[in-house]
Symmetry: C2
Subunit: 113 residues, 2 copies
């Protein structure tokens, strides 16, 4: 039987994993932006995210019509997909903000004992 031990770094990573959709929508809500800059912004905020995570996630967010993108040319390489929120995306961001606030309350409830 498989019975993996829990690694603490994994648990902390799991916490971050849970808020990634939310964090990406927050970053994009500040203005049109392309993937490598999203990664930089998240890192500045304290979230380490890599390409293999962000591209599938952006595709899911686009498929869900929370994000849309426009190609823009670059002086430094191939064209970039600049993402921005759709109106559905803004609604989702409000929902997820509520979810975050609920979760904060939940943990506060458990911590204050």
């Amino acid at each position: 039987m498989i019975m993996e031990k829990i690694k603490l770094e994994n648990s902390r990573a799991q916490m971050k994993k849970g808020v990634l959709d939310f964090a990406v929508l927050l970053v994009v809500s500040e203005g049109a932006i392309y993937a490598p800059d999203i990664i930089v912004k998240l890192k500045e905020a304290g979230l380490r995210v890599v390409e293999g995570t962000i591209y599938p996630l952006l595709n899911r967010l686009k498929e869900s019509e929370f994000l849309e993108y426009e190609w823009k040319e670059s002086k430094y390489g191939p064209p970039r997909k600049y993402y921005q929120l759709t109106s559905r995306g803004r609604a989702a961001l409000r929902e997820l903000t509520d979810g975050w606030n609920e979760l904060s309350r939940t943990i506060s409830n458990l911590l204050k004992k």
Copy 2:
């Protein structure tokens, strides 16, 4: 190609998922307790958790030596496993509390713009 749309309820659930280890350790830190009561406490705090989630999680936490248990008889059914924190568990709880505080700061960083 598989390209699932993101469901908002799932995203909110994902957030909660990320803190489950932490939440369970917090509940157990209040005193020896068995699984169905852990579920109740989490529900009171705002986290919906079911058996198929909690039992494997408790087993992982025990395997990781964060929790230990004693069998206790019950008047209402089969004996129960009462879990409590080990010293490793208390250390893990401090680590995860730090992780939670970091995550709160991260989201604050992103929200305040």
